[in-house]
Chain length 290, copies 2
Amino acid sequence: MTGLIGVDWGTTNLRAYRFDGSGAVIERRSSTRGAATLAREDFAKVLVETVGDWSDGATTPIALAGMVGSRNGWREAPYLPCPVDPARLASAGLRVETPIGAAVIVPGVSVTAAGAIPSVMRGEETQLFGAGNRDGLVILPGTHSKWVTMRAGKIVDFATAMTGELYALLRDHSLLGQLADATAAFDEAAFSLGVRRTLTAKSIVPLLFSARADVLLGNLGPQDVASYLSGILIGGEIGALGRGPATLIGAPQLVDLYRAAFAIYGLHDIATVDGDDAVARGLWYIGEHL
Amino acid sequence: MTGLIGVDWGTTNLRAYRFDGSGAVIERRSSTRGAATLAREDFAKVLVETVGDWSDGATTPIALAGMVGSRNGWREAPYLPCPVDPARLASAGLRVETPIGAAVIVPGVSVTAAGAIPSVMRGEETQLFGAGNRDGLVILPGTHSKWVTMRAGKIVDFATAMTGELYALLRDHSLLGQLADATAAFDEAAFSLGVRRTLTAKSIVPLLFSARADVLLGNLGPQDVASYLSGILIGGEIGALGRGPATLIGAPQLVDLYRAAFAIYGLHDIATVDGDDAVARGLWYIGEHL
C-alpha cells in the first residue's frame, strides 16, 4: 500500500494525518472547518485545500471518519448495527469521488437490539479500533460520552451519556449557571464534593439543584459552581454506567478528570489512551481493510 | 381578623387573593409583574396598583409569599431550616412597610441537615401548608419539582428535581432539540415510551441521548421528541424519588402527566390538589398566624 490520507472530520474541527506505507504518521494538520461549518458542496474543496499536496495523484487511498458521513455532512453513510469490526466497517464504507481520487467515508455504528436503549456513534468507532482493546469496557468521554463493550475485537454494545453537553447547557443557560462565576478556574475540592455526593445520592436527579441551593445557603461560592457541576455529572455518569476495570480514550485533561472521579468510586484499574493517537491508528487500521 | 390580602409573588407572575374575615376568597387578580421583572424600588408601587383598592387603609393584614422574598426580590427573607410549621414561618416573617400598611414576607425553607443534599424552596411552603397534608409525601411538580416529607404538620425534609428546567433546556438549546418539531402537540405514546424506559434503565443518564438516536434511526419522528423527553424526565424523577403513596399539588394539566407516569410505575394511590386553591389557602393559613 502506498500510504494513506486519513481525516477525522468532526462537527467543529477536522484533523488530517498523512501515513507512510508502514502506517507511521509523517505529517498532521488540523483546522476549524468542521462538518457543521460546511455546505455539502464545500467538502471536496476543503479536502483538496487541506491535504491536496499529500496526494500522489489519485492513487493514495483516503479514509474519512466522523460527522463528514452524517445526514448533514458530505454524504450520509448509514449506521451499522452492532456487532461491528473494522473489516465490516471498511467494507460498508461509502465511496465518494474527489479531485484527488476516491475517498471512503467510514460509517457510524448503532445500537438497535430489541430492549436496548437505542444509540449511535460516528467517529468514535475509528478511535476505538485504533486504541486496540479487543475485550472489555472502553469509555470515550466528551460531549456525548460513549461507554462501549468490546468482545473479540468487535463493538458489541454501547451507551451514551450526554455529560459534556449537559454541563455546557447547565453552565451557560440554566438558573444554576446564573450563580456561577464564568471566569473561575477548576476547583478540585468542589469537583470532588460533586462526585462524592453522587456516590450516596445514587442519581443526579435530586443533586443538580444543589449547585444552586449551596450557593444560596452560602456553602459554595460562585467560583465553585462549574467544578461542582462537573463532579456531579461525571460522578453521575460513572454511577449509572460504571462496572469495574475500563480504558479511557480522550484528551489528557478530560481523561484525568474521569480518573479522579473513578478513584472516588474506588476504581483504580483504569487504563488511558491518548485520543489523538487513537484516531490516527484507527484511520490506518480501517484504511488497511479498504 | 378583618380579612387578609395575600399575594403569591413568583418569578414571572403574581397571583393576588382577597379574603373576607372567614377566610373565603372573595376576589382574585393576577399579572405578569413577577419578581424577576421588577427593580427593588418597584415592588411597593406594584402592590398598590394591584391590590390597593382592597385595603381598608392600613388595617387589613398583607401576606406575601414566593420570590418576592428572595435576594433579588423586595427584601430577602432568609430560608428557615427544616423542620418548619406555619406558626414558625409566620413568626419569622419579614415586615415591610407599604403605602397600604405593613406587609409580611413569608420566608423560604431549606434543607441543611448534615449528610442531606442541600435544597431550598420559596413559595412552595405556602402551597404545602394550604394543601393541608399533615403526614406523608407531597410533590409539587414544576420547573424545580419539590418532593416533600411532611410529619405532624411540619415540613421535615425535601428534595428538588430540576425536571421542568431540564425539559426546557433540552428542548430549546440542546442537540436533541434540533431534531424536534417545536410545533408538535403532546403525543401520549411517545411520553409513555419515555416513562417505560426509565423503569428498566434505572437512570436518565444513558436515556436522554436516545431522543436523538431514535430520530436518526427512524424510530421516532421529530413530532415525538418533546413528549418522549418529557416522559424520560418525569419517569426519571419518579424513579429517583418515588416511594409509595403521594399527593400531587399543581396545575391540572401537569398533575395529569405525573399521574400517568406514576401509573406506569404501578403507583395508583396518588391524590391531587389544585395548586391555585392550595396557595390561596396557604396564604390564609399563614395569615392567621401573623
